[in-house]
């Protein structure tokens, strides 16, 4: 969580300084939910993160360099300049690379799990992230339904951050509670206070455990407030003062730090050391990526398929 917060604050300042082209999309306020999504996955499990899941990506093993190389346009990053920011992934390492079209990655996760089952693998699970905005797409509904039909070991973690870009919940859906949909899909459903790391670890950890044990697919709906714009180009002026006073508007990083202090898990000096360590890791990843060469149009091979001998000879 702390590493993600530190990293993303730094990415924001680079963006503001004009050093990042395109957008910067951060998970401020969502770190507790997201980190819990990554922490309980093991090697061989599948993670399909979305745009606010830096904490989950890092917890699942994404190197910081993948992030900084992609944002800063290094040709050595996993996307080699061909795609940017949060669209990165390493499918060979079970880190799926999201597309911007929301809901699409749920069924892709289902298929990845089916492949493992076809091959006779055991003890695996997949976790697919979504927001309350993405939950309103047709692709999401189709993906949830097919997951239940296939009875794959899937956890879907849906974070309601109360805005789809600028649109508040009351123009997004009209059901009483998003978790009620779980029953309709054939999932088991749980809610979680996304501002409380302990609660996130319990509920998301429990869902991963149940899916791994062969229970039906699991839906966890977390409630938070997005503590940033949709992207860093967005000042989020539409977020009302009223909603900022809601309990779900708490900053999960501050809540976690307070819990650590209250329970005497670490003293102030240790916390400060963690912050210094996070900052050092982030600085290192950024300075490495900044020294690397950018991709060049005349060196790119401009070939969208892997079967080189049947490429169309288009000029």
């Amino acid at each position: 969580m702390l590493l993600t917060r530190t990293l993303e604050e730094k990415l924001v300042s680079l963006y503001r300084g004009g050093l990042i082209t395109g957008g910067v999309y951060i998970g401020k306020g969502q770190e507790a939910v997201s980190v819990a999504c990554g922490l309980f996955l093991q090697k061989g499990d599948i993670l399909a993160p979305l745009i606010r899941d830096q904490a989950g990506r890092s917890a699942f093993g994404e190197p910081l360099l993948d992030v900084t190389r992609t944002y800063l346009g290094s040709r050595q990053g996993p996307m080699r300049g061909r795609d940017g920011n949060i669209h990165r992934g390493r499918p060979r390492d079970n880190q799926l690379a999201m597309i911007s079209h929301l809901g699409a990655m749920v069924s892709v996760t289902v298929g990845a799990l089916m492949a493992k089952r076809f091959r006779g693998e055991k003890n695996f699970v997949g976790l697919s992230c979504i927001g309350e905005g993405g939950m309103q797409t047709g692709a999401f509904h189709e993906g949830m339904n097919i997951a239940a039909v296939e009875q794959v070991p899937l956890v879907v973690v849906a974070t309601n951050n109360h805005y789809a870009y600028s649109t508040p919940n009351d123009r997004e859906f009209a059901c009483h509670d998003l978790v009620d949909r779980a029953m309709g899909y054939g999932f088991e459903g749980y809610t979680v206070d996304g501002t409380d790391l302990t609660n996130c670890l319990d509920v998301i950890g429990g869902a991963v455990k149940r899916a791994r044990a062969g229970r039906p697919p699991q839906l966890v709906v977390a409630s938070i407030l997005r503590l940033s714009g949709h992207g860093e180009h967005d000042d989020a002026s539409y977020v009302t003062d009223e909603i900022k006073r809601e309990p779900f508007a708490r900053d999960c990083v501050k809540v976690a730090e307070q819990t650590i202090v209250d329970l005497n898990l670490a003293d102030a000096e240790t916390l400060a050391e963690w912050r210094r360590d996070a900052a050092a890791q982030v600085d290192q990843a950024i300075s490495t990526a900044q020294k690397e060469a950018a991709p060049e149009g005349d060196e790119e091979d401009w070939c969208a398929i892997s079967t080189r001998d049947i490429v169309d000879s288009l000029e």
Binding site: S107, G111, A139, E142, N145, I305
Partner: protein
């Protein structure tokens, strides 16, 4: 022995399931004892238990699931019940499968079978030819087999290819077309075939329109014309070299396709020949497609909507007189 175009597709899938344990078939009504709306998978669920799977009516999720399985080592074949319904899966096919290798360096070996094209009485939503839409987007291979032999070998090739393949099989040919036996090997993907040799005019076509074009070529022999007919086999990759070589022999080009007329495969061929072989042409290149309306239900309207032998012959004669 006589085998139909549809049986060739079924036989190819049986062979694929038999020879490659990574292959599974995923689609609406393909499993159980039913074997698909057109019976292209009849008997396969029984012969290959657990590998020919019925899906919900969820084209997007069917393809998404196939993509996930493919990047994890499987070779899924998705059957769309009708090509028309693949429009509901465009996002997964174009934006996910089509971009994946370019973005991540991991290819997506899925094959999406599209029962394509018109038959009498099928109307606007069960008759479409979608090859030009898929060919427009990067990252996809688009096959349009016109013969029983190609239906068989190209489907086997489609599954072997590491990239996403949209395999457009023509419903009109399912039962109309027969061959004596199935070949062991076909032409390589991306190679067009001279279906009939000639010297006066080149007709470039693919899928069911091949047979209309061949009928016209036969008919115009009586008028003293020798028409060369090129069967593209795949619209992407498009074998520009074979087309140019044919136009070099004949000096005249007519492109025929069953899809809608705005843009598309026929326009692409004319653009390429005009750009690369302008000096070869003795007359302005022409093309013939379906009309720019939805596909009509009534047989009288339907047969006038698609290019037919009469229309192709009219267009060919006009071009030959120039």
């Amino acid at each position: 022995m006589s085998i139909t175009y549809l049986e060739a597709i079924r036989e190819a899938q049986a062979k694929l399931l038999r020879d490659d344990e990574r292959v599974f078939i995923y689609g609406q009504d393909v499993g159980g004892t039913f074997g698909g709306a057109f019976k292209a998978t009849k008997g396969l669920a029984k012969e290959f238990p657990g590998r020919v799977l019925n899906t919900p009516i969820s084209e997007d999720a069917m393809v998404g699931t196939a993509i996930g399985a493919a990047i994890n080592g499987m070779r899924p074949i998705v059957e769309m019940q009708f090509a028309d319904f693949s429009s509901t899966a465009l996002n997964q096919i174009l934006n996910n499968a089509g971009t994946h290798y370019w973005r991540t360096n991991v290819s997506v070996p899925i094959t999406v079978r599209l029962p394509s094209g018109g038959t009498k009485g099928s109307g606007p939503f069960h008759s479409q030819s979608m090859e030009s839409i898929y060919a427009h987007y990067p990252g996809l291979i688009v096959m349009t087999p016109a013969t029983v032999e190609d239906a068989y070998t190209m489907l086997i090739e489609a599954v072997a290819i590491d990239d996403p393949v949209v395999y457009c099989e023509h419903k009109y040919l399912y039962y109309h077309l027969k061959a004596d036996n199935l070949p062991v090997e076909g032409l390589p993907t991306g190679r067009a075939r001279i279906a009939r040799e000639g010297r006066d005019l080149t007709i470039v076509t693919y899928s069911a329109m091949l047979h209309e074009a061949l009928a016209v070529a036969e008919q115009l022999v009586n008028e003293g014309f020798e028409i060369e007919v090129v069967d593209l086999r795949s619209v992407k990759p498009l074998d520009t070299n074979t087309v140019l070589a044919s136009v070099a022999r004949t000096g005249r080009l007519l492109c025929v396709g069953e899809s809608f007329p705005w843009g598309g495969a026929t326009a692409e061929i004319i653009a390429r020949v005009s750009a690369e072989g302008f000096h070869l042409l003795d007359a302005a290149p022409q093309r013939l497609n379906a009309k720019d309306t939805p596909i009509p239900y009534h047989p009288n309207l339907w047969s006038a909507h698609r290019p037919n032998a009469k229309e192709i012959a009219r267009k060919a004669r006009a071009l030959l007189r120039e």
